[in-house]
């Protein structure tokens, strides 16, 4: 019987090693897999390349992973944040690398990675410094830049519901990058608040089919980043 459940966040991230590329779901705190990120801090691999829209906030979750110096490179669209100095400080000190990618190009590069499309053309960034060194081509009278797909060794995601096959639904705008990251990672690890029986999710409303998911771990009451930040929590404490 197919059963993708694992017993704990620690077990779920146990094979993430130094130098891995890790996609982390979430846009701000919506969809951020805090418990998986904290397990990754406990486990401790370094020299990670992390792909996320942002760089976390406060001193928990993704910001804590960066603060713990496990991340050598961030690929993201918006590394500045109102309530974290973790990334900016390391970046100004030259201690972390940044690949800045516009948000839509980031989503599409990840989707391409999952869909077996090695490269595509887009008009986004034409006329800006971000096209530097990239191939530009005129198609039907408009200029486009060639962008390459993004893949990862692991994806860490948060879902609303999951079944043993790995079928997923999400909560509102927590969906954001998760469906495309699930497709683009070799090993997709999902924390879910609600593990349900196979068949309990109507096939019409499955957002991420189980084929894209490798491991499911139940986290009943996931922490909220904003609450932890407001409380001044620092991980590891």
């Amino acid at each position: 019987m197919i059963n993708k459940q694992v017993e704990s966040p620690a077990a779920a991230v146990a094979d993430i090693v130094d130098g891995s590329t890790v996609m982390v779901g979430g846009f701000g705190e919506a969809g951020s897999p805090i418990e998986l990120l904290h397990a990754l801090i406990d486990k401790g691999p370094g020299n990670l390349t992390v792909i996320n829209n942002n760089t976390g906030s406060g001193h928990v979750g993704l910001a804590a992973l960066i603060e713990n110096r496990q991340v050598s490179k961030m690929i993201c669209s918006f590394p500045r944040t109102a309530n974290s100095t973790v990334f900016p400080d390391l970046y100004r000190a030259g201690l972390i690398e940044l690949e800045l990618v516009p948000q839509g190009t980031l989503a599409e590069r990840i989707r391409a990675g999952g869909a077996g499309i090695p490269a595509f053309f887009t008009a986004t960034t034409i006329g800006t410094p971000l096209i530097e060194g990239k191939e530009v081509r005129t198609i039907d009278g408009r200029d486009y830049v060639l962008e390459y797909s993004l893949k990862a060794d692991f994806a860490l995601l948060k879902s609303h519901q999951a079944d043993r096959y790995g079928n997923l639904t999400f909560n509102k705008t927590a969906r954001n990058f998760a469906p495309v990251m699930a497709m683009a990672a070799t090993t997709t690890i999902v924390q879910t608040a609600n593990l349900v029986k196979a068949g309990d999710i109507d096939p019409e409303i499955v957002i991420t089919p189980g084929i894209f998911v490798d491991r499911i771990v139940t986290v009943h009451d996931p922490a909220l980043e904003s609450k932890l930040v407001a409380e001044g929590v620092k991980y590891p404490s």
């Binding site: 701000g28 516009p102 989707r111 909560n171 705008t173």
Partner: protein
């Protein structure tokens, strides 16, 4: 230039822009003054708001006890979903943007050039943390780009220029600029002032602009 005259305030700028949002439009509003446009769309018009993090049919800010930290807008603030809304993932959301399905995007700006070039993501300063978000996707993909901005920076320099100094967000993308002083169309001829804020003279606006303005008021 010491003689400061008050034009439209932030609310009035948003209100003025809202007049130009037609009925039935799909609209994306940037962070800051652009967000305020939604509350001023004239009665009788139905406008659908897109937020690029994955919601079409964004509604107003809910009461604190009705907020869900996972129902937020692109500025990461709590919002609601109207009856008839839809959630989707980021690749689908930016397909809407890149594929020219959004009718109007209203954005803030650091600088706008007379040919419609927009700079709103970086001052280009060496120690700045570059951050672009969805701005480059929006200006490349949305059919009509409006800018709402103060006419001048806090230190009085012009934001409407012959040519932008800052790194661009997009080339020749802005159609119209709403400032505290005027409403200005961007045309092949350059900046055309189509409306002035109450008690603002054309020459006063021209003095505060680093490009030639055409008076079409």
């Amino acid at each position: 230039m010491n003689d400061i005259i008050t034009g439209w305030n932030r609310e009035q700028m948003a209100q003025r822009a809202a007049v130009d949002i037609p009925d039935g439009c799909y609209v994306n509003l940037g962070i800051g003054i652009p967000e305020k446009v939604a509350k001023y769309v004239p009665e009788g018009r139905e406008v659908i708001y897109h937020t690029e993090n994955g919601l079409l049919g964004m509604g107003s800010t809910p009461e604190p006890d009705k907020q869900d930290p996972e129902l937020i807008n692109a500025g990461k603030k709590p919002v609601s979903a109207i009856p008839g809304a839809a959630y989707f993932h980021h690749a689908d959301s930016f397909a809407m943007i890149r594929g020219h399905h959004i009718d109007i995007c209203v954005l803030g700006a650091m600088q706008v050039a007379e040919n419609g070039d927009l700079a709103n993501w970086s001052t280009g300063a060496a120690d700045a943390i570059p951050a672009v978000g969805g701005a480059m996707d929006l200006v490349a993909g949305v059919k009509t780009i409006y800018v709402i901005t103060q006419h001048n920076t806090r230190d009085g320099s012009a934001k409407l220029l012959k040519k932008c100094d800052f790194p661009l967000t997009g080339q020749a993308v802005v159609s119209r600029v709403y400032t505290d002083l005027a409403v200005i169309n961007i045309t092949r001829q350059g900046f055309e002032v189509i409306e002035l804020a109450p008690d603002i003279e054309f020459d006063y606006v021209q003095q505060r602009t680093d490009a030639k303005l055409i008076n079409k008021t």
